[in-house]
Symmetry: C2
C-alpha cells in the first residue's frame, strides 16, 4: 500500500430518468432516457470529467411485472438499453472511466457472457466490470422457457459455478500467448492456449474462449447480496459490494464481517471494497433540497407507490389499503418487519403507506442523504473515515440534473477535503479502485 | 419506386487482419486487429466517408477447431471481438453507416438476442442489422453443454421459430406506445404493450421485451444459406442474401429464383436483396494486383492451407497429402465435387492441393476479382446491371489497406458511372438499402 491518504471511490449509478420512481415528472429528467444514447454519453462524460471511478448499470431480462396501471406511470423498468450494448457505446465516447454492467447468471450462457465482458474490456482498454446477479423476478423466468424461477439456493449454486466457468474462459489464453511473429510465421503460441474442459453440475463448457485474455485479467466483479448464501458467494468472488446499508453501525459491522469473511477464502481486506448505493438530494440550502424531494414524492401516483411497496415487501396485496393510514398489521407479518434488514428502515417509525412508499421510492432500498453540499460531504466523510464504506455508488434522484448537481456541488467539497481524487492516476478500472490484476489459473506461481 | 437510376449497395465485410488467410503477414494489415478497437473505428469511418451502406461482421461462438500447428499461424478465427459489442462501440464513432452483426440461433436465447439488436438499433438511430446463422461447427456445441451440434434440419427449424420469436418481441410495444405525458401522469399506454405468450416447439417466451420498438421496426435481416432448407428460410425472412456466387449465369438464376421464391411468402422482389461477398484485389496495373495476391498466397503455410481446405471440404484428412500434387481421387468423392455448388469452382480445373487452398484461401469461398480499378468496376457493373446481384459485401484481402485501396481506387470509378451514391439520402440502414419499414404484427392494416 502507498502512504498516500486513503481516498473514497465513487461510482455513478445510472437509472434511466433517475432513481426516484417519479423522476420523469421532474423538468431536470431526460424524459426519453430509456432509449436516448446521447443522454448517457452526456452523463458519462460528465462523470469522467469529475474523475469518477466508474458508471454502473442495473439490469433485468424482463419488464417489471405487475399492475399496468401503476407500471404505465413508472417507466424506468419498462424500457431500457441492454447494459453491455450501452456501455460498449459509452466506451467509445470516453477514455478513463470504468464501465460496469449487470448480468444475470440465471438466464445467460457462461460462454456468451465471458465473451461480452472480455470484448468490452478490450474495447475500453481495461475498464469493464460485471455486476453478478442471479435474478429475483419470476417474470424473467417466463422469457426463458421456464415456468418458475430457480430456487434461492440453486440460483446461488449456479452463480458460483457460472463465475468459475467465466473466469476459466477468460484464462483461455495466457497474457503472452499472442506473439504475432511474421519471421517465424507464428501468430500465437499453441502451448499458451488452454481448453477449460469444464463438466460441472450446471454447465459443461469446453472452451477456449475466442478472444485474448482481458486487459484487466478479469473484468472487476461486483455483487450486492445481503442473504447468507449471497454473502458467501460475495466473500469468495466479489471485488466490490454494494449491499444497501442504512446506518453507520450496521455498515461498520458489515464492512468488518465481509473483509474477514473474504480472508477465509485466502483474500485480503484490500481485495474487497464496500460501496453501497447513496441517493444524494442536494440543495444550496437544506430547505431547497427538501423541496426537491417533496416535489418528487408528491409526484408518486398512489398506483405506482402501492405497486412499488407491494413488490419490495414480497408481493403482498396492497390494492385495498388506504395510503394515508398505516399499513394494517395483518398485511405483513411482524416477524418480517424485524428480521429482514433490507426493509427494517421502513418500520422504525409508524408511517402511513404513502410515507412508506415515499421513503422507499426515493432510492429503491438504498440510503438517502439530503442537505447542503457540506452536510452531504460530512455524512460521506464520516461513513468513509469510520470504515463503514470504501466509497459510494451515487444514485441521483433525477438524471441528468442530480448528477450534475452532485458533481458541481459535492465533489469539489470532497476534493477540498482530500477525500476524492482530482485526477486519474491509472487507466484501468482496477487501477482506479486499487485492485490487483489477477494472475489467472494457469499462471506459474 | 423512384425513377432515379438503380444503384448498387456496398457493404464492407470486416475480418480482423483481412479476408485472405495469410493477411497478417502483409505490412498493410493491422497485426493485432482482433482486439484493436481503433482499427475498426478507422475502417468504419473510412467506409462511412465513402458512403457505404453498411459494415458487416461474421461470428462464431468458438475458436476454430483443428490442428493447432495450422491455427497458431492463422489467427483470424482464434481471437476476435463479440460483434455486437464491437458494433455498439462503432455506432458511437459514426453517424450514418449501417452496422450488421452475425449471431447464431443455435446458442443464444431469443429474448437476449432481441434485446441486443433492439438496443443497438436505438443506440445507432436505426442502423442495426442481424445476420442470422445456425452455426456449422461442432466446436460451438461444446461450449454450450452439448456433445453434438443440432442436425441440419433441426437447426433450421429452430432458426425459423427463433426469428419469429425475435420479431414478436420487437413488436412488444407499438411504435406510439410511449406518450410520456406529464400532465396525465401516463408514460406509456398500457393497451399498446403486448405479451408475446409464445409456446413453440423449441422456445417458450412470454415477453414483453423491455425496450421500445426499434427505430427500424425490425433491424435488417441478413442470411447466407445455400442449402434448400436454408433457401426456404431465406425466402421467408431474409432481406439481404450474401450466398457465395462465382459465375454470372448462376448468380442470375439464383437472383431470379430467390426473388420468385420470396413472392411465394407474400413478399415483393424489392424486399430481398442479393449481395454476395466480393474479394477485391486491386492494383494500378493488373501486374501489381497479381503480385499482391501472389505475395499473400506464398505466405500461406502448408499447415494452414491444409487445415483450411480440410475444413472447407467437410473435415477430410489431408495430413498426408503432397501439396504440390492434385488431390488424390480417393480423398473426396467425385459426387461431392459436382453437386456442392459452394465448392464447384475448386474442381473446375485440375489444381494441385496448394493451388486449391490458395484459390479458396483468398476469399474463403466467396468470389475474387483482380485487376485495375477499371477492370474491377467493369466486373461489378456487369453483374449488377445484368441482374446477378443488387450489390456486394466487399471483402478486402488485407485490412485496413485493402479497404482504403478499394475506396480510393474503385469507389470513385463506380460513382463516376452513376452506379454508387455520392452521399447518403437517408439515415437508417433500411433507407440506405431501400427496404420498407415493417409495420409489425399488431399494426392495424
Amino acid at each position: 500500500m502507498s502512504t498516500a491518504k486513503r481516498q473514497m471511490k465513487l461510482g455513478a449509478f445510472f437509472h434511466p430518468t433517475g432513481h426516484h420512481i417519479a423522476a420523469w415528472h421532474h423538468p431536470g429528467a431526460q424524459i426519453d432516457a430509456g432509449t436516448n444514447f446521447a443522454h448517457y454519453v452526456e452523463m458519462t462524460q460528465m462523470a469522467e470529467a469529475a474523475k469518477f471511478d466508474l458508471v454502473f448499470l442495473a439490469d433485468a431480462v424482463a419488464t417489471r411485472d405487475g399492475d399496468l396501471e401503476g407500471l404505465s406511470r413508472w417507466p424506468q423498468y419498462m424500457c431500457f438499453f441492454d447494459p453491455v450494448v450501452l456501455l460498449s457505446g459509452l466506451a467509445a465516447a470516453t477514455n478513463r472511466i470504468g464501465l460496469v454492467a449487470t448480468a444475470t447468471t440465471s438466464y445467460n450462457e457462461p460462454y456468451n457472457l465471458a465473451r461480452k465482458y472480455a470484448s468490452l474490456d478490450h474495447l475500453s482498454g481495461g475498464r469493464a466490470g460485471w455486476n453478478v446477479v442471479t435474478s429475483g423476478n419470476v417474470s424473467e423466468a417466463y422469457n426463458f422457457g421456464r415456468e418458475a424461477h430457480y430456487g434461492h439456493g440453486e440460483r446461488y449454486q449456479r452463480a458460483s459455478e457460472f463465475v468459475d466457468v467465466v473466469k476459466g474462459l477468460w484464462d483461455s489464453y495466457d497474457d503472452d500467448a499472442f506473439v504475432r511473429d511474421r519471421a517465424s510465421g507464428r501468430y500465437l503460441l499453441p502451448e499458451k492456449l488452454h481448453f477449460l474442459d469444464h463438466h460441472g453440475e450446471h454447465f459443461a463448457v469446453r472452451g477456449p474462449l475466442n478472444i485474448a485474455r482481458p486487459p484487466q485479467g478479469y473484468p472487476v466483479l461486483f455483487q450486492a447480496s445481503a442473504s447468507d448464501v449471497g454473502k458467501d458467494l460475495a466473500a469468495r468472488i466479489a471485488e466490490v459490494l454494494f449491499t444497501p446499508l442504512h446506518d453507520l453501525e450496521r455498515a461498520q459491522a458489515f464492512y468488518r464481517d465481509m473483509k474477514a469473511h473474504a480472508a477465509t477464502f485466502g483474500r485480503t481486506a484490500d481485495d474487497l471494497l464496500v460501496m453501497p448505493g447513496l441517493n444524494v438530494v442536494v440543495g444550496t440550502s437544506r430547505k431547497e433540497a427538501e423541496e426537491k424531494l417533496d416535489f418528487l414524492n408528491r409526484s408518486i401516483h398512489p398506483a405506482v407507490g402501492k405497486e412499488l411497496l407491494s413488490n419490495a415487501l414480497g408481493g403482498i396485496d396492497l390494492s385495498e389499503v388506504d395510503v394515508d393510514k398505516p399499513l394494517p398489521d395483518h398485511i405483513i407479518p411482524a416477524e418480517q418487519r424485524r428480521t429482514n434488514p433490507r426493509y427494517a428502515y421502513l418500520f422504525k417509525e409508524k408511517l402511513t403507506v404513502r410515507q412508506m412508499y415515499q421513503r422507499y421510492g426515493a432510492a429503491r432500498g438504498q440510503r438517502t442523504v439530503i442537505g447542503t453540499p457540506t452536510e452531504i460531504a460530512d455524512q460521506m466523510e464520516r461513513w468513509f473515515v469510520e470504515r463503514g464504506v470504501d466509497g459510494f455508488l451515487v444514485q441521483p434522484p433525477v438524471l441528468p440534473l442530480g448528477l450534475r448537481e452532485f458533481i458541481e456541488m459535492v465533489v469539489p467539497e470532497l476534493q477540498d477535503r482530500g477525500l476524492f481524487r482530482t485526477d486519474y492516476t491509472g487507466t484501468t478500472l482496477r487501477e482506479h479502485l486499487g485492485l490487483r490484476r489477477p494472475a489467472g489459473i494457469h499462471a506459474v506461481h
